[in-house]
């Protein structure tokens, strides 16, 4: 019996020792996961659901498409659209509604030329309701695109036309200052009619049922396990492509990805804040700047949040700086507005440089505003049960707990935290089943309108049901205003109104964390932060 007990104790001690020891990381001598400088190995946290240009919506698919396909334009390191399949930037008509692109002599991965008709086919296919594209709406700035999608006009009436094999003419509904940004978006990439028809319902479901015109081709795709990109020998700019192979490993558990990275089996991966501490201060740590804004929406169909002072008091009562520093720990930027830090303003400046935001936090003022609000409402104390609703991911729960504590400490306001799955959060938001709602939005393109139009009265993303006629008027005018300067000024004014009227409580402009081996050079992310560009990436490793 004694022996038995001794053994059990020994075993227990052994386990504890194992657990303790696993808390510290030892560095192995670093080397490329692929063994040499020609292969780059990275991890993705999900299987790409579909690489169909018309139907892809998720980030992993968009990353593969951004590296195997090319649209008329491609974003450079600074987020500016540069000529890609188009030989130069388009000619724009005086009324800014007609764009004419001249295509360069580019080829598909089977050697056939990329023609203007490939773009026309691709865009019309996306707009065809039968395709069931969930991103068709991004093409709506094109004349009659929305009408065709709704089945009101025929395909020939849509404002996109191949003048000949190498000239593409696009007519827009209104002047759209961000149309060139859009031309680098995955949904605007070309597709080959013969390939789409050849594979029918199997199109784009496997690596060999696709064709490419970008820096790499997808040479292998093992569902849920891995994908391989190979240098495309038909790519028009292949001189600049320095990698022979890119291997993507699909693995969902972040701890395992970190293990693989530490064992030199990955050169790059994204991580979540739980692992941030391990790489704090190390050269591996990479911050990926997203163009994403996170904020609290307040349910203004309820009398309590209809009161301006109450809404303002919540903004003043939450310390966003410590939220980003202590809770998020991923280099997200505390927010005072809606437009993220690197959103474009005019040609030379960022929006935020021209219209700086002020991060509001003042507990004393918050208390005053709150008391004033209660008085105006004729209330002695807060309504009984207030609920803050958000996603059930770890980091989201922590944020909500933090906000709950801030409101309790600074306002004496009691709220309950409700953490629910993403889809449920969307539904609750849509049906106004919340008091406070943690919401976020990722920019689709580099222009303030991607955020501004969210808060129009009655808009489906305006879940708090905030409404302000001046705001509506400024944003609606900007949708068609050909005067870029005036438009930008209007959108800046609109953002100020949004904050002054406390439509939302800005929290932070989100960043993501990655880890990348120090010898990985030349990688960059497109301005929305959703995709890396590996065209000019190289590994600079010496034994």
């Amino acid at each position: 019996m004694n022996k038995k007990r001794l053994l059990s104790v020994l075993a227990f001690v052994l386990i504890c020792a194992l657990l303790l020891a696993s808390c510290g990381f030892e560095g192995n001598a670093i080397k490329p996961a692929g063994g040499d400088n020609r292969t780059f190995v990275l991890a993705e946290s999900a299987e790409p659901p579909n690489l169909d240009v018309s139907k892809s919506t998720d980030e992993v698919s968009s990353r593969i498409l951004n590296n195997t396909m090319e649209g008329l334009l491609r974003q450079d390191r600074n987020g500016r659209p540069q000529p890609a399949i188009a030989a130069q930037l388009p000619q724009v008509s005086k009324d800014k509604r007609t764009y004419t692109f001249t295509l360069r002599n580019a080829r598909w991965s089977d050697g056939k030329p990329v023609r203007a008709q490939d773009f026309v086919f691709s865009w019309l296919r996306t707009l065809n309701a039968k395709t069931k594209s969930e991103y068709a709406f991004i093409l709506f700035p094109i004349q009659n695109a929305e009408e065709y999608n709704a089945g009101k006009v025929s395909a020939s009436q849509v404002g996109v036309k191949a003048l000949d094999d190498s000239h593409l003419q696009v007519k827009l509904k209104f002047p759209t200052p961000y149309f060139m940004e859009l031309c680098s978006f995955t949904t605007f990439m070309p597709q080959r009619e013969d390939i789409v028809n050849q594979y029918g319902s199997e199109y784009a479901l496997e690596a060999n049922r696709l064709i490419f015109n970008g820096p790499f081709t997808l040479s292998n795709w093992e569902h849920e396990a891995s994908f391989t990109l190979k240098k495309n020998s038909f790519y028009w700019d292949q001189r600049k492509v320095r990698l022979d192979r890119v291997e993507g490993k699909i693995i969902k558990d972040v701890a395992s990805t970190v293990n693989l990275y530490s064992a030199n089996r990955l050169d790059f991966t994204e991580i979540n804040p739980e692992f941030a501490a391990i790489f704090e201060g190390k050269s591996d740590r990479t911050v990926i700047k997203e163009m994403a804004s996170w904020y609290i929406e307040m349910n203004q169909t309820k009398a309590f949040f209809k009161n301006l002072n109450i809404r303002k008091s919540i903004n003043y009562g939450i310390d966003k700086r410590s939220l980003t520093k202590r809770v998020l720990k991923n280099d997200s930027v505390p927010a005072g507005g809606l437009m993220p830090t690197h959103m474009k303003g005019d040609e030379k400046h960022k929006f935020r440089e021209l219209s700086p935001d002020t991060v509001l936090y003042d507990p004393a003022k918050a208390k005053q505003l709150y008391a004033a609000g209660l008085k105006e409402l004729g209330l002695k104390r807060q309504p009984d049960r207030l609920e803050i609703v958000g996603d059930d991911a770890d980091s989201s729960k922590k944020q909500m707990e933090y906000i709950k504590e801030q409101l309790r400490k600074n306002l004496g306001l009691q709220v309950e935290v409700t953490a629910i799955p993403f889809k449920q959060r969307l539904q609750r938001g849509k049906r106004q089943q919340f008091d406070l709602l943690i919401s976020g939005w990722n920019a689709d393109y580099n222009d303030p309108m991607t955020f501004s139009d969210l808060f129009l009265s009655g808009g489906s993303y305006n879940r708090g049901k905030w409404s302000n006629p001046t705001y509506d008027q400024l944003v609606r005018k900007s949708m068609t205003n050909p005067n870029d300067q005036e438009r930008l000024a209007d959108l800046m004014k609109a953002e100020k109104i949004l904050i002054q009227d406390a439509a939302i409580v800005p929290l932070y402009y989100r960043s993501r964390l990655g880890i990348k081996k120090p010898f990985v050079k030349g990688i960059y992310w497109i301005s929305t932060g959703s995709s890396y560009v590996l065209k000019e990436t190289y590994l600079d490793w010496k034994k």
Partner: protein, 310 residues
């Protein structure tokens, strides 16, 4: 026996029908739609796409349409991975899960059986104590904790095996080991208990007395009788491995059924949820049936009892 199996098969069909119906209505009651870009999709376009998928029709219409497909052995197409055949996906994913699962059970049975026999033969000696503590640990440490530790130590620190991912045989070893520990723990306890009991029976003494060697006695008379109850735990163990592998698969990045099941629920992929549920149910029901048949084959008394019962 044939009648018994037939009756069981009919019962299985009824159970399956109930499971499918319940799952169908449960999964459709989840909030949201299967659309991937639901957050950004303007409502008019969302409705139009739902219409194209036939998801705007009354639930009972969708139910009968799904069941109609099922009778033609068509599980439908995934909504999350647009257009991929569910049956094709299940086929691809099942291989990985089955491989690590069966390998895990096999390792578990061999090591667990060995440990059980040894500790029954050397009761109270160090090997018995060792086996006891191992099984206590094995039962109490969840497979995913062990998976994490293995991945870190064997994979990262010692660099013996790949810490995760899929592709070669080396990739299957650690997932199988993580899964096998629970089997080792439970199986060794059962074998030990049963064997100790059997070895104390009079017929064992008789066998020894008539001059059979110790090894022959244990093999021919001891083990065969001790294994009968042990076979019963195989059923629950297989089920345990199947469900336990969800997390282990995630940790090691195994492209198996686990990820498909979890993702399809999160993404409201109705057809994939139903497909995996049907598949899992069938798998569990068939393995339980097989074990019952096996049970009858090992122990003739059960066959007789079954016949009398009919």
């Amino acid at each position: 026996m044939t009648f018994y199996i037939l009756r069981r098969l009919i019962l299985m069909m009824v159970t399956l029908l109930l499971i499918i119906t319940a799952t169908f209505f449960l999964v459709h009651s989840l909030p949201g739609t299967p659309l991937k870009n639901e957050e950004k999709l303007p409502p008019e376009i969302r409705d139009q796409i739902l219409h194209e998928y036939g998801l705007d029709q009354p639930l009972y219409v969708q139910y009968f349409r799904f069941m109609g497909g099922l009778f033609k052995a068509d599980l439908g197409k995934s909504l999350m991975y647009d257009g991929r055949d569910i049956s094709q996906m299940l086929k691809e994913r099942f291989f990985a899960s089955a491989f690590i699962g069966f390998q895990g059970i096999l390792i578990g049975l061999i090591i667990g059986g060995g440990l059980g026999i040894l500790s029954a033969l050397y009761q109270g000696r160090w090997i018995d104590n060792f086996a006891t503590s191992t099984s206590v640990l094995g039962v109490s440490i969840p497979s995913f904790v062990l998976a994490g530790l293995l991945s870190f130590w064997v994979g990262v620190k010692w660099g013996i095996l790949p810490p995760a991912l899929w592709g070669s045989y080396a990739h299957t070893i650690m997932p199988s080991l993580s899964l096998s520990v629970a089997v080792i723990a439970q199986f060794s306890r059962y074998v030990r208990t049963e064997l100790v009991e059997v070895l104390n029976q009079d017929y064992i003494k008789t066998a020894r007395a008539k001059g059979l060697s110790k090894a022959a006695v244990i093999w021919r008379h001891g083990l065969r009788n001790a294994l009968i109850p042990a076979v019963t735990v195989l059923g629950p163990l297989t089920v345990n491995i199947l469900t336990g592998s969800l997390v282990v698969e995630k940790i090691f990045g195994v492209p198996g059924m686990g990820a498909l099941f979890v993702d399809s629920i999160i993404n409201n992929d109705y057809t994939a949820v139903l497909g995996t549920t049907i598949f899992y149910s069938l798998l569990i029901m068939i393995s339980v049936l097989l074990i019952d048949i096996l049970y009858g084959w090992i122990d003739p008394r059960i066959r007789v009892a079954g016949r009398r019962g009919e």
